[in-house]
């Protein structure tokens, strides 16, 4: 029986970490993710987890300590936001290249500057090419569930990559909402033991990690790393299927909402996808053929599946909560359009909106503007502007 609870997104992630019971959590506090290591350190102090909690002096050290712990053969986890993720930067790449399946809760917050504690996706979007698997979560339930699945996915021998589980700072991290938890013993069985093939504390098979690589081997190592990312999609599906059998909660690579006969569809990550569902329901009640695609797995990007679905629609709006400052479109837009082009699909008209930057509240009315625009494009086939901003004063 699932346990009916009400928790904030941060509480949900901390409880997932408690149930996973990793060997090491190393963290440095930064708003709005601070509560995750704070709650977890309470579990450590209360003796309800076996983990070693390392209160480091910076996020650079937090990720470095996770790299060390995971390389030694343990399970390491952490959480961060915005500039904390920024300070981890060089170590993110080392974790991925060293094939260390560290799991990190990212509570999305805008990268400074300007200095602002609120939500957008400029932090994790910047890390999209660092070699980490990335999940995006609409609410506390998805943050919890994806955390529970993250170890299994990252630690799979065909993958061996670190995993970020992203949710919206404050909007879901600090909102209390209903959630269903899974019993501790079920999670213990589901997550299982971490038994890496190679690790530093194995005296039977001594190895070095992170030595100088140079021209002779780096390319091959990077190619293998890329293969881990290519393999990840299949493993995500397998683990999600097993999770579905355990909990009854079904997770695909992306969620399709009311897309069956839809003509105009928005592609939206995280909490705003929930607001869009509300708007889709209202517009559907008026007979308008609208739908939503909510990507869950963003790295690797599910090109084949996404293109197959998007090719059915007449007009698509991709919403980005981060600007790429490339004078052309946000990161999700670039991925979606390049996926379509690479598969030779040119039929849907695809436009981009940059929205919600720096925590600008995204209202149902804002999302309605987007749907009205793409309904218009679906009807006329005419696109007057590809790269747009939503809800900004100018």
């Amino acid at each position: 029986m699932a346990i009916r609870e009400r928790l904030s997104g941060n509480e949900a992630v901390a409880i997932a970490m408690k149930q996973i019971n990793p060997d090491v959590v190393a963290a440095f506090p930064i708003t709005p993710s601070t509560e995750i290591p704070q709650y977890f350190s309470n579990y450590v102090a209360d003796g309800v987890v076996d983990a070693e909690f390392v209160a480091v002096e910076s996020e650079h050290s937090a990720m470095s300590a996770c790299v060390g712990a995971q390389a030694a053969g343990g399970r390491a986890m952490t959480a961060t936001s915005a500039n904390g993720l920024g300070l981890m930067w060089e170590v993110l790449y080392i974790a991925a290249c060293s094939r260390l399946p560290i799991v990190m809760g990212v509570v999305n917050r805008t990268m400074s500057g300007p200095l602002n504690i609120h939500n957008d996706h400029s932090d994790s979007m910047g890390a999209r090419d660092s070699g980490w698997i990335q999940f995006y979560c609409e609410n506390n339930q998805e943050a919890y569930d994806n955390m529970l699945m993250a170890n299994r996915i990252g630690e799979h021998p065909d993958v061996m990559l670190p995993v970020m589980v992203c949710q919206d700072g404050f909007i879901t991290s600090h909102a209390i909402e209903n959630i269903e938890l899974v019993e501790d013993d079920k999670i213990k069985d589901f997550v299982g033991e971490y038994n890496p093939e190679m690790y530093l504390l194995n005296s039977e098979k001594p190895i070095s990690m992170g030595p100088l690589d140079l021209q002779g081997h780096t390319f091959e190592h990077k190619r293998q790393q890329a293969q881990g990312m290519i393999n990840a999609k299949k493993v995500v599906n397998e683990v999600s299927e097993e999770f579905y059998k355990l909990t009854g909660r079904k997770y695909e690579l992306f969620e399709e909402y009311m897309t069956e006969d839809a003509e105009a569809v928005a592609v939206i990550l995280n909490s705003t996808a929930g607001t869009a569902k509300y708007v889709v329901n209202q517009l559907r009640a008026q007979g308008k053929k609208v739908g939503l695609i909510k990507p869950r797995l963003y790295r690797p990007f599910p090109v084949d599946e996404m293109v197959e679905v998007l090719s059915k629609f007449k007009a698509v709006a991709v919403l980005d909560k981060a600007d790429s400052f490339n004078a052309a479109g946000g990161p999700l837009y670039t991925d979606v359009t390049s996926a379509l082009y690479s598969k030779g699909v040119f039929s849907p008209k695809v436009i981009n909106y940059i929205y919600g930057i720096g925590g600008r509240d995204v209202k149902a009315d804002d999302i309605e503007i987007v749907y009205n625009k793409i309904l218009d494009i679906a009807a006329t086939g005419k696109v007057d502007s590809v790269y747009n901003y939503l809800g900004v004063r100018e």
Partner: protein, 192 residues
């Protein structure tokens, strides 16, 4: 209840408006509802105006925006009436609940033409009488449950009794006072 009830709280940092919104979410959750409780975070400092929100529904909630057209507004500190547009978007078939010693008619003049129901509650007196100190959030919580009828009053009091037992496990002496504050505010709220 066939729709989503939306509540907006206005208070000042340190008065417990955020806590009250979370307690309301808790109580509604315990009666089987889907709930959201979330504050609007700003530069947090004692005394600065803060806003917190609740959505309460029989159906799963997916919307994740602030609340612009609330059914109910709760004003924990009446000095905010002069500086914050508390009635902004408030539905005329809803109500505003204000912590003040004034009557609804006396306070209505400060509400910039709001035509809906105005309720008042003297949370200061109730809090000081029953708790010995000024914690306006508990009486305001009682008042909002009374006015909004979002849950059965007895269920609410029973549930709060359990929550307080849990919350104040280390200082059981304050449980009775908190329950008394809830009961009194439910009886004394004016303008129903």
């Amino acid at each position: 209840m066939d729709k989503v009830v939306e509540i907006r709280w206005h208070g000042r940092g340190g008065q417990g408006a955020k806590t009250a919104s979370l307690l309301l979410a808790d109580a509604a959750f315990n009666t089987g509802k889907y709930i959201q409780g979330f504050p609007e975070y700003g530069p947090e400092r004692m005394g600065a105006p803060i806003t917190a929100y609740n959505r309460i529904s029989d159906e799963k909630l997916t919307i994740h925006s602030n609340i612009y057209e609330p059914d109910y507004v709760v004003v924990v500190d009446e000095t905010l009436l002069a500086s914050v547009p508390v009635t902004s978007g408030l539905k005329e078939d809803g109500a505003i609940i204000i912590n003040t010693t004034k009557t609804p008619d006396e306070v209505r003049t400060a509400l910039k033409g709001y035509k809906g129901k105005v309720c008042t509650i003297d949370a200061r007196t109730i809090s000081i009488d029953s708790l010995g100190r000024y914690f306006p959030n508990t009486p305001m919580l009682g008042a909002v449950v009374k006015v909004s009828k979002i849950m059965d009053e007895k269920d609410f009091l029973d549930d709060m009794n359990e929550s307080f037992k849990h919350k104040f496990a280390k200082k059981p002496e304050v449980i009775e006072g908190n329950i008394k504050a809830l009961e009194r505010s439910m009886q004394e709220v004016k303008g129903l």
